[in-house]
């Protein structure tokens, strides 16, 4: 049968055309195409990987932020607490100080009062003495006129002193 008998001419042509076709297409089509497709696939994979990485980093960043915020909050609370304590201690110190000072002033005032009192008493004593001398002078002046009387007075006075 003609149908299943290979013809040499056609066979030769097919072999020659096929070799040329494989050669040409490999050089000008398959190699550049395969290379480009491969490169594009690699870059897509890379892009996907880096997107995944970026996402992860984003999540990490967010977690860090949250952590920092929490820390800041804790710090603020701490600071507030400290301030509160400091306020209390300052007030307490001030009160104590004031009390001490007030006591000191009071003491000083009392001392001064005591001094004043002493001087006043001393003055009063000297004035009383002076007055008594004056009175005595006057009395003496009058008494000296009568000798008898003079004697009685002196005696009396002497008695008084002894009694003292």
């Amino acid at each position: 049968m003609d149908l299943i008998t290979p013809e040499y001419g056609l066979f030769v042509w097919q072999v020659v055309v096929m070799i040329i076709l494989i050669f040409l297409l490999t050089k000008f089509a398959w190699k550049p195409v395969m290379k480009a497709v491969g490169e594009r696939e690699a870059s897509i994979n890379e892009a996907l990987a880096s997107a995944e990485k970026a996402k992860e980093e984003m999540a990490n960043l967010k977690a860090d932020n949250e952590k920092m915020l929490q820390q800041a909050r804790a710090e603020r609370d701490e600071m507030l607490k400290e301030a509160q304590q400091m306020k209390k201690s300052i007030i307490a110190e001030a009160t104590e100080d004031a009390n001490q000072k007030a006591e000191q002033i009071l003491e000083k005032a009392q001392a001064a009062i005591q001094n004043e009192k002493k001087t006043a008493l001393a003055e009063i004593k000297s004035q009383v003495a002076e007055l008594s001398v004056q009175i005595a002078e006057t009395v003496v002046k009058k008494q000296l006129d009568d000798k008898q009387e003079q004697m009685t007075l002196v005696n009396k006075m002497l008695d008084d002193v002894k009694l003292n």
Binding site: D2, T5, L10, Q14, I22, L25, T26, W30
Partner: protein
Amino acid sequence: MHEIFELILSQQFMATHKSSKITVALMLLLILNTFSSFAQLDTDEVIDESFNPTEMIMHHISDSHGWHFFGEGEDAFTIPLPVILWTDKGLVSFMSSAFHHDVEGEYIVEANGQKFVNYHEKIFVLNEGETEFEYNEEEHAALNANSPFDISITKNVASMLLTSILMIILFMGLAKHYRKSKKAPKGFTNILETLVVFVRDEIAKPQIGEKKYMKFMPFLLTVFFFIWIANLMGLLPGAANVTGNISITVALGLFTLALILVNANKDYWQHVFWMPGIPTFVKPILAIVEILGVFIKPIALMIRLFANITAGHIIILSLIGLIFILETAGVAAISVPFALFITVLELLVAFLQAFIFTMLSALFIGMAVQEHEHH
């Protein structure tokens, strides 16, 4: 007969008119395909008065020296193709139109001091001094002539060259895209890229393996697209039956065989000649089977492709031929839709056969280069 056929044509056309442009074009093409067979049949009938379906079908699926489209005898519309012959007196070449559409060995062409005839698309050179070609039908041999080595650009060669040029245009276009941009191509170029990636990911990688597939990609891609495009071109009206020709498939199968033989590793030959892991007395028996297997594999490839494509063409032609065998135009109402259905099926077969050929080639190559784990 023509009116009824045209009516069917227009109805088919109207039915598809509402759908997309592509579908219309496709349908028209398919209908034209059946129509071209029809035109051929019509004129056959006029001349012979008796319709011979075998002859008609054989004419359509065999190779020829001119690219015949329609018409018969001197009125036929045929694109002349160069006839190139290697004779005892050297290379002779002339256009196929020199035979004046004669295929019965009656018209003698004189070139380079020799006389040539075309007998059923085979070129014979007459012996010295002979003036008329004589052929013995019983013995299938020429009595006073011999056949020179025929390397003509026949219809199949021309079609094969067209397919090759089309492939070069398509895939160089695809390669050109990557020189301009790194991005994925759009539209038709993207389809081509998808197919290239399909061959790589679905055929080469799984069958040959990640490490070695790259070396065989050029062959697999070229064979896949060559067979597919040639199959599709074969479905066009008036086109040649390239992949349904045994010479073509033998050449393609031998490429696969050559690749297997050249690239096979030590393990492969060991498994062929002295299969490890079986009793020694079985080894020689198995060696015979395995050695036969080395050659049967590519032979199966050759026959599968040839038979599938040729069978498809024969079915379509037979369905159309029914109209003339039964000599009723009414049969067209059944055979034309049937032929149309088969033609659409052939579109699928065109892809499928290209896929199977490439797939099995990759599988056989994969078996030859595979690293076996020792038992």
